[in-house]
């Protein structure tokens, strides 16, 4: 039965994508809409308990898979797990001091921008946002290259940095 096959698929298989770090985002989105429509629990209310339960699991798996693959950070961690590497950021707290210094400086810049009432505020905010998104984009490009090169220690470190950048970007 197709539902059971889908339940055993990994996230990439579920959305008919190659298990690579760089993915076709528009395909992910269109597949997500197709799957979510096809396996929506509301369509199965007249089926037996077993089917309804499977559909519920599948529907939540589709959402979870979509959220995971959509995010550069979560996708990286997930793809690592498919290579049997378990990156648990909550227990992995070793971060290079130099990197932390630049993080601190970034926060300080954001903080002083918030107090800034000069005419340059908008421009400076935009510059800082651009600087951060460049850092994020470069990190994503490097992660992709490292996956191709199977350089897993590099990926683990880059994903950690990406996690810090993502938090930073919520502070504007």
């Amino acid at each position: 039965m197709q539902i059971n096959t889908l339940l055993h698929n990994n996230h990439f298989e579920l959305f008919d994508l190659q298990p690579n770090y760089t993915i076709d985002q528009s395909k992910l989105h269109s597949q997500y809409l197709i799957l979510q429509k096809k396996y929506h629990p509301d369509k199965y209310i007249n089926y037996n308990e077993e089917v309804r339960s499977s559909i519920l699991t599948l529907s939540s798996k589709i959402n979870q898979g979509h959220n995971t693959l959509k995010s550069p950070l979560l996708r990286g961690i997930y793809l690592l797990s498919l290579h049997d590497i378990n990156l648990d950021l909550s227990i992995n707290t070793q971060t290079s001091p130099d990197f932390l210094i630049t993080q601190m400086e970034f926060y300080e810049k954001i903080e002083s921008l918030k107090m800034d009432n000069s005419i340059d505020k908008i421009n400076n905010t935009l510059l800082l946002k651009t600087e951060l998104s460049t850092l994020i984009n470069n990190t994503i490009i490097n992660i992709n290259t490292a996956f191709i090169d199977k350089n897993y220690p590099f990926i683990e470190n880059a994903l950690k940095e990406l996690s810090f950048y993502e938090k930073l970007s919520t502070n504007f």
């Binding site: 707290t93 001091p97 950690k160 930073l168």
Partner: protein
């Protein structure tokens, strides 16, 4: 998630926010980060001739629990010897602030920051 009153108290009125002179030989600086939540914590201690921590400052960018943990730690550190400071465990910080399990890592971060600051101070003064 509800924060405990103590967390809110430290968050709204944090103690000892600021910076000490990083280049001073009396000052030890600890900089730590938690990748899971992206929190960054800087803790500085100033040690007198008797080896007692006479001042402590912090700067933390993170959630309320991380800010409260570092604020509390700066309060606790003052008047302590380096060995006493090194023996502070995250559990006592977490207990004092009544941190929920999902926020325990904030107290771990604070403990790591203390250790890093002490290590920095000791390294600086070994070389003198």
């Amino acid at each position: 998630m509800a924060y405990s009153e103590k967390v809110i108290e430290h968050y709204e009125n944090p103690k000892n926010v600021g910076t000490l002179d990083k280049s001073s030989s009396r000052v030890g600086t600890g900089l730590v980060g938690a990748p899971a939540c992206g929190d960054v914590m800087k803790l500085q201690i100033q040690v007198n001739d008797q080896g007692i921590i006479e001042d402590a400052k912090f700067k933390t960018y993170g959630c309320g629990s991380a800010i409260a943990s570092s604020s509390l730690v700066t309060e606790i550190l003052k008047g302590k010897t380096l060995d006493e400071a090194a023996s502070i465990r995250n559990q006592s910080i977490a207990d004092e602030l009544a941190l929920p399990p999902v926020k325990i890592h904030c107290s771990v971060l604070a403990e790591d920051a203390i250790k890093a600051a002490i290590t920095d101070y000791r390294q600086k003064n070994q070389q003198l």
